[in-house]
Symmetry: C2
């Protein structure tokens, strides 16, 4: 599950989300990331490299530009991982389910109330 580490970076997550809509050239992805994050071209290229090396995208040369596309179901592992917990909160799980879903007075956290 290095997918969590891979998608943990917001830039890479954006790239993946962008590619989900269809293939795009490195230049287009770079422009997008520069607008959203204000980073340089090499920075984006490095993120693309990580996505390549981990098998989440593939590339094809087209003239002088490189077209990126998502690999077939890069999220298979993630879906699998998530599936292991699905039945836990699907509501089907009787005792534990209701137990977990209770607001449970006196059980809440001590400090926080930040994001969520």
């Amino acid at each position: 599950m290095d997918l969590f580490e891979t998608l943990g970076d917001p830039v890479r997550r954006s790239i993946v989300e962008e590619l989900a809509a269809g293939e795009q050239s490195a230049g287009e992805l770079t422009a997008m990331a520069q607008v959203r994050f204000g980073i340089s071209q090499p920075a984006v290229s490095q993120h693309l490299r990580i996505l390549r090396e981990r098998g989440y995208v593939t590339t094809r040369a087209e003239g002088t530009r490189r077209i990126y596309r998502l690999s077939a179901d890069p999220f298979a592992d993630l879906r699998l991982w998530l599936g292991r917990y699905d039945r836990l909160w699907s509501g089907a799980l009787d005792d534990l389910g209701t137990y977990l879903n209770r607001p449970d007075p006196g059980t809440t956290n001590d400090r926080e109330r930040d994001h969520v």
Copy 2:
């Protein structure tokens, strides 16, 4: 989606996976993490704090120990996020689907062949 960043850390991921099986005390979680990662008690406590502050777990005091449990469906966001792409690789998507699933000779990467 700070969940990716949260679960990006293997220690926190282990804790969450552990808690999916049921509640556990800080001490038990600490022992687990120490065995698996060889880190100190404060290190684990800091990870627990992050999980607390981000709302993924709640705690309850029981004597001198603190019992941790997963919040109700901490993965709701993740499932939602993933759902947006589900139909893309479900095989239902005709053209793009087959296109993406092709081995596509001459399209593969240049360098890699690492993890995946």
